[in-house]
C-alpha cells in the first residue's frame, strides 16, 4: 500500500466522521432556518387537525400528507416520469411473444423457500400500502415491495412459470393501466362532483376548503381513510408493482423471441 492510498483512506475516514458528527450532533448549528421551521410547524400541526379541517389533510402521517395532499401535483408528475420510462420500454418490446418453455430454475430447496417467502412479502406489501396514511410507507413503498415477488419468481423458477401462474405481460399492462386510471379518477373526483352539483371545487382536492364546501370523507365506517390519501396509496401501489413486474418480464425475455418479433415487424413494414 503506497503513501497515496493511505492518505486517501485517512482523508475519506475523516470526512465521514466529520459529516456524521455534523449530521447527528447538529454541529452546523440549529439546522433549519427560522422560516423553514415555521413551515414544518405548520405541517406537523395541520396534517391531522380535526378542529380545522379546511387546512388539514386529515392523515396522521405527515410525509403522506405532504406527498399526496399538500404537494400532490409534484407526486403526480413524478409518477408520470416513471411511467413514461415504462411506456417507452413497453413500446420497444411490442409484439414479442414468450414461447420458449424452459423450466430450469434453481434447486428444490430454494424453490420451496421462495414458495414460503412470496406470500409473506405480498402480505407485507399490502399492509404497507393500505396503512400508508397511518404509518411510514405508502403506495410506492408497498408497490416496490410487491414487485420483489416478481423478481424472486423469475430467478428461482422461470419466465415460463410466471406466465403459467397468470402474470403474463398483457395482464400486467392492463392492471397497471387500471392503477393509473384510478390515480387520475381520485385526483379529479371532487372536481367532477363539484361540477355536477354546481359548487366550486378543485382538482386534487382532499378535504373541504374555505371556498369550496365539498370534499372526500376522512372517515369511513369509523376507519380513518384520510380522504384521497388512501385511494392514492392503493392505486399507486397497484400501478408501481405491476410496472416493475412488467419491467422484469421485459428484461428477462429471451433474445430469440425478440429477434422473431423484430423479423415479423420488418415483414409487415
Amino acid at each position: 500500500m503506497s503513501l497515496r492510498h493511505l492518505i486517501v483512506i485517512i482523508a475519506t475516514v475523516v470526512l465521514i466522521v466529520t459529516l456524521s458528527y455534523a449530521i447527528t450532533m447538529r454541529a452546523l448549528g440549529p439546522v433549519p432556518l427560522f422560516k423553514v421551521r415555521r413551515v414544518s410547524e405548520f405541517y406537523l400541526t395541520n396534517a391531522f387537525n380535526p378542529f380545522n379541517k379546511t387546512i388539514s389533510a386529515m392523515t396522521p402521517e405527515v410525509v403522506t400528507s405532504i406527498i399526496w395532499d399538500y404537494r400532490g401535483l409534484d407526486t403526480l408528475f413524478e409518477t408520470a416520469v416513471f411511467y413514461l420510462a415504462i411506456i417507452a420500454t413497453a413500446m420497444l418490446y411490442r409484439g414479442v411473444i414468450v414461447r420458449r418453455k424452459t423450466q430450469v430454475g434453481l434447486s428444490p430447496i430454494v424453490k420451496t423457500a421462495t414458495k414460503i417467502v412470496v406470500p409473506s412479502i405480498i402480505v407485507i406489501a399490502i399492509a404497507v400500502a393500505l396503512h400508508g396514511h397511518l404509518t411510514p410507507g405508502g403506495g410506492f413503498q408497498g408497490g416496490s415491495i410487491a414487485a420483489v415477488t416478481f423478481a424472486l419468481i423469475l430467478v428461482t423458477f422461470s419466465l415460463y412459470t410466471l406466465n403459467k401462474i397468470g402474470a403474463c405481460k398483457e395482464k400486467l399492462l392492463a392492471l397497471r393501466s387500471l392503477g393509473l386510471l384510478s390515480l387520475i379518477a381520485t385526483s379529479i373526483i371532487v372536481f367532477v362532483m363539484g361540477m355536477l352539483l354546481g359548487i366550486r371545487a378543485f382538482i386534487l382536492q382532499n378535504q373541504a376548503k374555505l371556498v369550496s364546501i365539498i370534499g372526500l370523507p376522512y372517515k369511513m365506517y369509523n376507519f380513518l381513510i384520510s380522504g384521497s390519501c388512501f385511494f392514492f396509496n392503493v392505486s399507486e401501489a397497484l400501478a408501481v408493482s405491476m410496472a416493475f413486474g412488467l419491467l422484469f418480464i421485459f428484461i428477462s425475455i429471451f433474445e430469440e423471441d425478440v429477434e422473431e418479433a423484430l423479423k415479423r415487424r420488418e415483414e409487415v413494414e
Partner: protein, 85 residues
C-alpha cells in the same frame, strides 16, 4: 449520550459502506461486485433508519436490495461476467 451512540453507529456503518463500495469498484468478477454493492445498499438502509427516515427505508430496502441487484444480475447474465483488465 443517545447522540453519541447515534454518531458512533452512523460512523461505523458509513465506513463499512465505504469499504463495500471500494470492493465493488475494484472487483473484476462482476457478480461479486453486485453482491458488494448490495451490501453497501443494506448498510445505507441502516443509516437511513438511524437518521430517522422510515419512509425512505421502506422504499430503499426493496429497490436497492431486491430490485437493483436482480436487474444487474440479469445484465451480467446477458453480457459478460468478468471485466477485462
Amino acid at each position: 449520550m443517545m447522540g453519541l451512540f447515534i454518531l458512533f453507529v452512523s460512523c461505523v456503518v458509513s465506513i463499512l459502506a465505504l469499504v463495500a463500495t471500494y470492493l465493488a469498484i475494484v472487483e473484476r468478477d462482476l457478480l461479486k461486485a453486485i453482491l458488494y454493492s448490495a451490501i453497501q445498499s443494506t448498510l445505507f438502509a441502516f443509516l437511513y433508519y438511524i437518521l430517522i427516515a422510515p419512509d425512505i427505508v421502506l422504499v430503499y430496502i426493496p429497490v436497492a436490495i431486491g430490485l437493483y441487484p436482480l436487474l444487474m444480475v440479469i445484465v451480467v447474465k446477458k453480457s459478460e461476467r468478468f471485466e477485462k483488465p
